[in-house]
């Protein structure tokens, strides 16, 4: 700089340096105070997630370093080299410098090669699949609900969890055990995503994806929310599910109950109650009008003729289509059940599939 | 000045250059580049679809892919038309307008005959119940040959235009960029067919 014909006052450099230092201090303060936590992933819940989280930390540290270095350089430059009234003559016409070009090609290359190497290492760990997993789950994502089939070693379905969230719902897994998940979709692409697993995988129709995880031992009793991460239509944001971590004993008991429930025959229609028939196919009911007598319980014999993975139910709502009167559990495609409803007052109601309000999978229930 | 001295030949490839290939021909070459990429997309889809479906072609349709059937004649016609097209270019470069008209006329007719044969072929396939909706095989077959056919149709239109302009005496040994450009396009259409024939019928 001493070669420059016009000497800039040293104070300008000081001010510029001061501002840059201040900015760095602010960034430092943000992280030191814990406010920077917002930029960290949630607590990793699986051994795989712990690896990913560790990798994230490294990438993040490098990112912050580069951010501070380059933004600092920019800020310093624009503060230090503003044109002053005395600047009539041109500044030195520097056209380039092969040495520095080589440097700032080489150094980033080394950095990205390093990042690639550690990423590839973590990838191998995350993608690894054990030959004999402790638990096998076949997750099916249909528009717009999840179901989880628990398989034995030969691939036979032991039990099916059709309630993806809520009380008694969710995909239960034992902690500390290898859980091998296969993914299938009967319709469009979905994605299985649990933020605390730091992991998602697409559920692609016509292609069975798989992955494996082990929930950390200290997470027993935790419920991890998950949801579909690939736009799948109008019910996309409602495609929620939970993963429920249990001790091995709890898990065994839970699975036994689920198997038991699967073997139970559907509840017989209460004798004497009037029975209405309703069939669902191609995301539509076979009728848009039903009639029921007022003041007595009644039954809808419901048959879902869509493919497995496409769930339906028959809820009764007020005429506005949103206020729930009576709620029912969904059933999977290619299944049937008897829904029993409590007595209703005379009037007009809406019956609706809670999974498919759009396009209108709904009709009018007249009670008289 | 120093720069100019340092580069004694900086004007060689610059300026509103009249040297090298003309604007329309360069434009056509670039257009053909984009067309190549378009077909590359379709070909990639074809191979991906084929890899995901065995046997290929499905047994019911296997017999339609006989390379020695009528399709071989269509292929020979189209390859021949590329030659006549090139003869036409050489003719007009020499200033031989009669030779140009004769050759481009033959090319035009061959193109039309090829299209007619393709229409006839489609008719046969439809009568056998093979349509765009006949699974991946029907879809890829009709998409690939259909888009090629559409390009042949476009090429025939262009040939018609340069035939008409040739008859109106608009081309000479010096001024015939349109002929050069159309011939490039016609060769491209021909090459695409050779590739198509190879992947559909031979391998």
């Amino acid at each position: 700089m001493s070669t420059s014909p016009r000497k800039r006052p040293a104070s300008e450099a000081l001010v510029a340096g001061g501002v840059v230092f201040l900015l760095i201090a602010i960034v430092g303060l943000v992280f030191w105070s814990g406010a920077g936590q917002a930029l960290y992933p949630p607590k990793a819940a699986t051994t795989q997630a712990v690896e990913i989280s560790r990798l994230y930390d490294i990438v993040f540290a490098i990112a912050v370093a580069i951010f501070i270095a380059v933004e600092g350089l920019i800020v310093w430059t624009i503060l230090r080299y503003r044109r002053r009234p005395a600047d009539v003559d041109l500044p030195p016409q520097t056209h380039g410098n092969n040495l520095v070009e080589a440097l700032w090609t080489l150094i980033p290359t080394v950095i990205v090669l390093y990042l690639f190497a550690i990423s590839a290492g973590t990838l191998t760990t995350v993608e690894a699949v054990s030959p004999n997993p402790d638990v096998r789950i076949h997750a099916v994502a249909g528009q717009f609900q999840w179901k989880f089939e628990y398989l034995d070693a030969s691939g036979t379905v032991l039990a099916t969890q059709t309630r993806p969230i809520g009380e008694g719902g969710g995909m239960a897994v034992p902690v500390g055990r290898t859980v091998y998940v296969t993914l299938d979709s009967p319709d469009v692409i979905h994605a299985w995503y649990v933020p605390r697993f730091l992991f998602k995988r697409d559920v692609v129709p016509g292609q069975t994806n798989h992955f494996e995880f082990v929930v950390n031992e200290d997470e027993a009793g935790q419920r991890f929310s998950g949801q579909c991460a690939e736009l799948c239509g109008t019910g996309h944001r409602a495609m929620l599910f939970d993963v429920v971590a249990m001790t091995q004993a709890d898990y065994d008991a839970w699975l036994a109950v689920l198997i038991e429930a699967g073997n139970a025959t559907p509840p017989p229609a209460p004798s004497g109650a009037p029975v209405l028939n309703l069939v669902a196919k191609d995301i539509a009911y076979d009728t848009t009008t039903l009639d029921a007598p007022a003041g007595v319980p009644f039954v809808i014999a419901f048959k879902n003729e869509d493919v497995p993975g496409v769930p339906h139910d028959v809820d009764i709502r007020q005429q506005d289509g949103t206020t729930v009167v009576q709620d029912q559990e969904t059933i999977d495609g290619d299944a049937e059940t008897n829904y029993t409803y409590d007595a209703l007052e005379a009037g007009t109601y809406t019956f609706i599939c809670s999974i498919h309000p759009i396009p209108a999978m709904t009709g009018t229930l007249t009670v008289q | 000045m120093t720069t100019a001295v340092a580069h004694p030949e900086p004007h060689a490839a610059s300026g509103h250059a009249q040297r090298g290939i003309s604007n329309p021909i360069l434009g056509m070459l670039l257009f053909i580049t984009s067309e190549v990429m378009f077909f590359a997309g379709l070909f990639a889809a074809y191979f991906a679809t084929r890899a995901a479906n065995t046997p290929w072609p499905p047994a019911v349709f296997a017999h339609i892919l006989d390379p020695l059937g009528p399709i071989i004649f269509a292929t020979i016609l189209l390859i021949a038309s590329s030659f006549t097209c090139q003869f036409a270019v050489w003719s007009i470069r020499r200033g031989d307008r009669r030779g140009y008209l004769r050759n481009i006329g033959i090319t035009f007719v061959l193109g039309v005959v090829f299209l007619a044969m393709q229409v006839y072929d489609y008719g046969l396939l439809f009568s056998e119940g093979m349509t765009m909706g006949s699974g991946p095989f029907g879809t890829t077959y009709f998409t690939l040959t259909g888009f090629h056919g559409a390009h042949v149709f476009g090429g025939v239109l262009m040939l018609g235009v340069i035939l008409y302009r040739g008859m109106a005496g608009q081309f000479s040994a010096k001024h015939h960029d349109a002929v050069e450009a159309v011939s490039l396009y016609w060769h491209f259409v021909d090459v695409v067919w050779i590739l198509l024939f190879t992947i559909l019928y031979l391998i």
Binding site: L55, T122 | M1, S14, G15, L30, M37, M132
Partner: protein, 570 residues
């Protein structure tokens, strides 16, 4: 032609509407590109505000149902990408490139007009979807099948078909425009304008055009296949019938990743023009910059599958490595820009302020992209708001700031009047703050697990504050447009008269009148470097500064820098 060129003030040049509608003048077409693009920027912006309003608080408030929400963000992205950013950069190129290389017009003026007019037509077709049964396309701007196929729960209506037709039309417009640029750049340069004396803006348009010509037809093929599936019983992407769903993603991203560079390279070109002018220094590492641009273009074709890391259907390490590598030439550019300003004399006119905005924001867009290049981290971040943050830091923080730098920079040339500096700075600061308020919180949302494209979220997920902040920021961005629009309208009539060269520019467009005459130039200065006007102003010896003893200041340096590869390429 020659007579026209000699009478720049030819009457009728400022003709009426008919004149504009039928023009083949690249400058008028360029300006029409800009106006048309800003119109669609407004429309895309309104959709963005609708989306942000819905997301401001949990629950479904604004839209009657999720389908309309899906339409809103799908059309927002489609409009912003295909009808705003790509065309507005093409528009700046259309205006600037012939002027910068000393050409009278584009190589094919009528095809140029055709390219332009396909855009509003495509836009109208796209938006016409709202009038059809089932509404506009709602499968996202990526429109992955089978969601974009004709299922009852997918995309049964004609809106999706209109989307396809519209994109094919816009794509064709891009291809024709790209061919036009390439022929213009290769064949229409003024005497002395060798390839390695071209302004960087022209180089970026050159590389962009190569990408457009080679990549856009590929998306056309994907769209055509989707159309066949939807309307003629095809089964390309229908797994039930033997098709492959992921095939579309491969073909789509083979275009759409290079398309990202189509959306950002010309903006890099703009700021590579602005930074030297307002620093009073040449661009640092002119050649390195060109090679970096070409390198980005070439690598751009080998990274498409990094959008598909979670599909379980791509070879992860290869695409991860290529994606990391693409950071290198981008980094080279960043340092070249900063060192262009380094030891310069910076004048903080609005174009420079926006260019610095580009530098600081694009840097973040590059850094947060590196997270997604790391495959395991991408497993966490893919399809979350992190990606939304990343792409907006690149395309808004990068491209849009670059676009505004270009608008403020060339407005005097286009109209003969200066934009007001005060309003320009107000515009910048509101936009800068609004932009960061909108998109920085999305990093937090993404890493904490909020997926993209959801109309509603759990109120206890801890996402409420960040979402509200982002919505406020979104409206601030909208507000920042007001001083800009006001500025344009006022300055058109009452702005300071610009003169030929208000900024002491380096490149040829500043050698002609403002606005330039039809066919652009009465006469051209001698072209002996990439800064012909600088040479004319200061004399060729000025390259060496004023006799400073520093090695880098010696006149030799341009030669050293320019020699090695001149031979074969020239």
């Amino acid at each position: 032609m020659a007579t026209h060129a000699l009478s720049p003030a030819a009457a009728g040049y400022r003709g009426g509407v008919y004149e504009w509608l039928t023009t083949t003048d690249h400058k008028k077409i360029g300006i029409m590109y800009l106006v048309n693009s800003f119109f669609f920027f407004l429309i895309g912006g309104i959709f963005a505000l609708l989306v942000r309003t819905e997301l401001a608080t949990p629950g479904i408030q604004l839209f009657e149902n999720e389908h309309v929400y899906n339409e809103a963000f799908s059309i927002h992205a489609t409009v912003m990408i295909f009808l705003f950013i790509i065309p507005i950069l093409a528009g700046l190129g259309n205006y600037a490139v012939p002027l910068m290389i000393g050409a009278p017009d584009m190589a094919f003026p009528r095809i140029n007009a055709l390219s332009f007019w396909m855009l509003p037509l495509g836009g109208i077709l796209l938006l016409a979807g709202f009038l059809t049964e089932g509404g506009a396309a709602a499968a996202g701007w990526t429109s992955y099948p089978p969601l974009s196929e004709r299922g009852a729960l997918s995309s049964p209506g004609p809106g999706q078909d209109l989307w396809i037709v519209s994109l094919v039309l816009i794509g064709t417009s891009s291809i024709l425009g790209g061919i036009n640029f390439l022929v213009t750049i290769f064949k229409m340069r003024a005497p002395g304008m060798t390839l390695f004396r071209m302004p960087i803006m022209v180089w970026t348009i050159l590389v962009t055009s190569v990408l457009v010509v080679m990549a856009t037809p590929v998306i056309t093929s994907a769209l055509v296949m989707l159309f066949i599936d939807r309307n003629y019983g095809g089964s390309f992407f229908l797994p039930d019938e033997g098709g492959t769903a992921v095939l579309y993603q491969n073909v789509f991203w083979f275009y759409s990743h290079p398309a990202v560079y189509v959306m950002v390279l010309p903006a890099m070109g703009v700021i590579s023009e602005v930074l030297p002018v307002f620093s009073r220094k040449p661009l640092f590492g002119y050649k390195a910059f060109i090679f970096a641009t070409a390198g980005i273009g070439a690598l751009g074709f080998s990274v498409w599958a990094h959008h598909m890391f979670t599909t379980g259907a791509v070879f992860l390490p290869f695409f991860a490595l290529m994606t990391f590598f693409i950071a290198v030439p981008t980094g080279v550019k960043m340092f070249n820009w900063v060192f262009t300003m380094f030891r310069g004399q910076l004048t903080f006119s609005t174009p420079l302020v926006f260019a610095i905005g580009f530098l600081t924001m694009f840097l973040i867009g590059g850094i947060n992209g590196a997270f997604s290049a790391s495959v395991p981290v991408d497993f966490a971040l893919h399809d979350t708001y992190w990606v939304v943050a990343h792409l907006h830091y690149v395309l808004f923080g990068g491209s849009v700031f670059g676009v505004f730098a270009g608008i403020y920079y060339w407005f005097p040339k286009m109209t003969g009047r200066m934009l007001d500096e005060g309003l320009g700075h107000i515009h910048f600061w509101i936009m800068f703050v609004g932009f960061n308020l909108t998109f920085f919180p999305m990093h937090m949302l993404g890493i904490k697990g909020m997926p993209r494209r959801i109309a509603d979220y759990d109120q206890f997920a801890g996402w409420n504050d960040w979402n509200l902040l982002a919505t406020i920021g979104g409206f601030l961005i909208a507000v920042s447009m007001l001083p800009f629009i006001w500025n344009v309208f006022v300055s058109l009539r009452n702005g300071k008269v610009a003169g030929d060269d208000p900024w002491e520019g380096n490149t040829l467009e500043w050698a002609t009148s403002s606005p330039p005459p039809p066919y652009n130039f009465d006469r051209l200065p001698e072209i002996r470097s990439e800064r012909p006007l600088f040479d004319a102003r200061h004399g060729p010896t000025a390259h060496g500064g004023h006799g400073g003893p520093d090695q880098e200041e010696a006149p030799k340096l341009l030669e050293e820098d320019g020699h090695d590869d001149q031979g074969p390429t020239a």
